[in-house]
């Protein structure tokens, strides 16, 4: 039992955790025919139930998932899995029909029902059940109050509200101006831009995967892997001093992690070129600046010429560039994570003279 717990704790490492979620996403998309089966869907839900049930016998696990703040996130895990599976199942069913030349399921259904009783009645029932859930929740879980706030004794770990934990995780890899200002703004702008970028009518009003492979995959990667799983990670696996703790691990405030991060400029100048760091910041950071310009300026153009030519032609230049820029900024997070984990890379561009880091 302890060996099993230690094995699970091993996955609490951010690298393994991230890798696991990416692999899971690939498998879901690739083996969707299998994943969409009822056996897999209910089997995975059953597995989660068993996992949490088993975990409740462990003091540390119980402590972290039983906190009134965290209970909704446990529910979120179940809901996330259920809705991913459910949409995939519907999409697979429709894809089968479409490839057989039949219309999707949604088209065979009646498209009008009575407001009364069908709509109003179900809304009423939903309202009543919501009330029941809220009442039982508020009785069952105490409000997560703490001692009087004290500026000499701040909470450790200091966690953002659960819905911001993805952003807080980004702060580990990016400077606050990027993780706290630029990227969140891009997320909002990007979400608003989707209707204008994506004018493909396929998939409107019905589930499908085959007709929108790239879109669904990118969405799943952005929402499930980069957003939701980072919230889960931030809730359950980040402990004191923002260190990683396995779900069965004791939150020891003394736990240490070796922080040995290196700047890109140090890699290039000191290690590769065997020179001291130049004194002038522009010279020192020139490689990082060039790399950044290539990533956001040259790469989209190059991709338009080769690799994504089809998209470029389908979307037109404006839509294409907006899309690719948004996509690249989304991908900057996993890119930065990977370089951090593989090379201990701290910043690509680091100009402490102006408090500017990328």
């Amino acid at each position: 039992m302890d060996a099993l717990k230690s094995f699970i704790d091993l996955f609490a490492d951010p690298r393994l955790f991230f890798l696991t979620t990416v692999v899971a996403l690939v498998l879901i998309v690739w083996k969707r025919e299998t994943f969409a089966s009822d056996r897999w869907g209910w089997g995975l839900m059953g597995f989660l139930v068993v996992f949490f049930g088993f975990g409740l016998f462990d003091e540390n696990f119980k402590l972290i998932i039983g906190k009134p703040d965290n209970v909704p996130i446990v529910a979120l895990i179940f809901l996330l899995l259920f809705f991913t599976w459910f949409s995939m199942r519907e999409a697979v069913r429709n894809d089968r029909r479409l490839s057989a030349g039949e219309p999707p399921i949604e088209k065979d259904e009646e498209d009008r029902v009575w407001t009364w009783p069908d709509l109003v009645y179900t809304e009423l029932i939903a309202m009543v059940l919501c009330t029941v859930i809220l009442i039982v929740w508020s009785i069952g879980l105490e409000a997560p109050l703490e001692q009087p706030a004290n500026n000499a004794n701040t909470p450790n770990p200091s966690k953002a509200p659960w819905y911001f934990l993805g952003l807080q995780e980004m702060l580990v890899y990016f400077d606050p101006w990027l993780a706290g200002v630029v990227l969140p703004s891009l997320i909002i702008v990007g979400l608003m831009a989707i209707p204008y970028i994506d004018n493909n009518p396929k998939g409107n009003g019905y589930y499908t995967f085959n007709e929108r492979r790239a879109e669904v995959t990118i969405f799943l990667f952005g929402f499930v892997v980069l957003w939701s799983s980072l919230i889960i990670l931030g809730t359950f696996l980040r402990g004191p001093n923002w260190n990683f703790f396995g779900p069965f691990e004791y939150w020891d405030i003394h736990k240490l992690e070796a922080l040995t991060n290196v700047q890109l400029s140090e890699y290039i100048w000191v290690r590769w070129l065997g020179m001291a760091l130049p004194g002038n910041w522009l010279v020192r950071e020139i490689f990082g600046i060039i790399l950044t310009i290539v990533y956001i300026g040259v790469l989209p153009v190059a991709l338009a010429k080769k690799g994504l030519t089809g998209y470029y032609e389908k979307l037109g230049p404006t839509r294409y560039y907006v899309t690719v820029l948004l996509f690249l900024s989304m991908m900057s997070l996993p890119v930065k994570m990977l370089t951090r984990w593989l090379f201990n890379l701290k910043y690509v561009v680091s100009i402490p003279e102006f408090f500017f880091n990328i």
């Binding site: 069908d118 009543v128 009330t131 706030a149 000499a152 004794n153």
Partner: protein
Amino acid sequence: MADKRSVGHAYNIDFLNVVFAASSLFVLFATIWMVWDDYDREWKNYQRQFTALEIEVTRAGLAAAEQEVDQARVAELAAQRDSAEQRLLADAEQVGELEAQLAEVNRQLFVATQAFNFTKAEYDVNRYSFEVRREDAHSEGGGDDEHEVDGEDEVSAQFEQWVSEGLEVERLTAERDQLRAEIGTFTADVDAASRELASLTGESERLQGVVTDLQPSLVDDYLLNAPLLDFMAPTLTVRQVITPNVVDDVNFIRVPKMDRCQTCHLAIDRVGYEDYPQPFRTHPNLDTYVGSASPHSIETTGCTVCHEGMGQSITFTDAAHSPATEEQVVDWEERYGWEESHLWDYPMLPSGMAEASCAKCHNGEVFIPEADKLNLAYGMYERAGCYACHKTVGFEGLRKPGPNLTKVASKLDETWVSNWIRDPRAIKSSTWMPRVWYNSNTDGPEDAVRNEVEIDAVVAYLFENSSEHELAIPFPGRGNAENGQRIVESVGCLGCHIVGAEEREASGPRRTFGQPLQGVGSKASYQWLFDWVRDPRHYSPDTYMPDLRLDDFEVADVASYLSTLTGGDGIAATVTYDAAEVDAVLLDYMRAIVPYEEAQSAIAELSPRDRQLDLGRRAIGRYGCYSCHEIAGFEDTQAIGTELSQEGSKLLPQFDFAFVHDIPHTKRDWIDQKLRDPRVYDRGRILQPLEKLRMPNFGFSDAEARLLTTAVLSFQRDVQPKEAQVPRSARKDAIVEGRNLVRRRNCVTCHEIEGDGGDFRELVEDPSLAPPLLTPEGAKVKPDWLYAFFRGPITIRPWLEVRMPTFGLEDDHWNDVLGYFAAISDTVGPFRTHETAPDVATGTGRDLFDLLRCQQCHVLDTIPDDQDVANLAPDLRMARERLQPDWILDWLIRPLDIQPGTRMPTFWTEYPGSFYPQFDQDADAQIESIRDYLLTFSGGPSPVQGN
């Protein structure tokens, strides 16, 4: 989308009906559950239980009250009342007529009073509006000119009417009183009997009323307290006190405390519940706390300023109750589902430690009356010398607690010293000297060599830097050890020194004020002991040891006796090492401050002896030996410990428990554990020698650790406002200064002052042969006499063996003591002269003096030889110079109140009456005459120069 089809149903409506019905039931149950959850509170059950208890206790009180009532007298009075009522019947006609008249007059009076009041109201309105109109007209008319305004006559007329109506009211009132008096002449007997009956049975009737009120009732218990109805006027309510001057610091603001403890602790301020279990027990000290007449009444002080915990909370766990013992933890977990609360930074102090909070308002005081535990804890804190390493507000500027080591070579030999510091308590069980080496983080076999290297280096440094001590008498003769023992046991040495192997805890901080004398003969030479006893200041100029004025023969006897107190070789070294080990340890020390190469070359330049000495100096610096001892070369070095002035306010996360998981993670347990094993938080850690914790081990017992934890928790930052503190005044300052001084010089080991101390008195068989109680000293003796006495004590009672020593204090200190005595006796203030009548020597005073046979016990030049020494009393010839004339009166009236246990008889037991015939049996006049007679004596012993 394709073409529109028909309108259909998305769901089976029958099924939806079932779902709706079920969800409606769910919401109903959820709502009922919610109401019940809100209604069902821990504290309500306690209030219900308490009502039952209150009925029981009140019934017991009622039974007792009824017992006390003289039933025969009640029956007699009832009979009297009945017969008086019978008699009243005979006059029924007359009385009836008078009562009818009275009713009529009352009616008229009511009407007249109402008219009178109405007129007054209207008059006030009209007068005001007239005044306003006249004022307006006046200012419109340019200021000066008189302008006629109508209506003044009406106002005056109304006034006249009001006055005449007032006269009518007065007339009717007089008439009514007249009638009442007439009726009263008939009913006087009945009224008198009823009144006396009521006064006899009043208490029991009141209690009966209380019992009736407390009985279960439908309205109170089921209606007013019913769920959803209990918002109106429930009888079960949260009870709270809000204390405007006592605050909670919630970090960004200070708010008045709101203590709801009484919601469950319902009898905390009520007498009669002393023996009931918590939460219904009466506070154990209502005279000092909680009681409305006490200085800390619950209305002004509340509860949590002393007990800590979260006053607003009304559940057991959230209030942050703290268990005192492990059994209590188990019990509480079972009964209340208790767990350590994390919602409040300052959990309750466990039972027995609440006195730590006294210092919040009584700050800077080392003695607080009634706070026996805290006083003892502070005494221990000082005796253990905690303040020497840990700077602590209130304990600054004190002398270093350990002996002076600048002349150590003349006193001790190196082997003894190294055995001593290896484990001091192996030599003297009651010493306060802690063990610096061989503690829990340095007692492994791999540490032994390093320990020995450091110990030897420290000893070498001390002896190398020891200066010469010139003995006052180089070759003293030997004395009689038996006589020496008698002197040690009788003159008062034992007040500060213990001789045998007593436990430190049992002896307490006052009896261990001086070095324990166990094994002193094996420690120091006879010559040194003689030199020390003869004049301690000769060796150690700042010692607190006073001079007992022994002559050189007595000194020789005492030193001879002390030389016989041998034993205690201590623990010898078990490992040996070579010079390379010394170098290695020294290198370690030096690398901490200089680069490796530099350290190496610096060591290479030193001779092996100098290396050891240098290591000794560094080790003394690291372990802070100089904090407690005067050591040459460390005169100005700062103390090494963490400042503790606000340790009690430190928050839990600031305490590092490291890998110690077997104690509860609370502040008090951290401190307690640190005191028991100061190196415990190194457990399980890999540390280089110089990274290890270095607080030495005092071997504190459970009780000592608990007391010191209380002391440390009492050191808090100032949170309470000035209004909550004890008001400052000259008198208050004098008291605080004096209390500090008499404790820091250990006067209290011999003298009981303000009910504290007097440990030495227990060693004396007969209390009347013990050092005197000093609480009334300020009222008793004249300050100039006392000052002279302090400077050069004289023998007041030659038959006592115990002596008042000469302390050699500065005048400042003596004035502090005089001010302190005056302040506690409340005699700070005007000087008074006292004139004795010219012929007292031959008058009544003398007769009474002879009659009461004062001279039977009191010395008057010659000591009465037929008296038991315990009965003897001071020479009355000193009275004029020594005693306050007013105090003599007081003393004659009530000697036992002033000095409990005194053998002085109380002659005026019927004061202010008197058994004796003089002055028409006027006790005051008799006492004054005796006093005046006493004041005619002179020529007794005197400490005043020139007398």
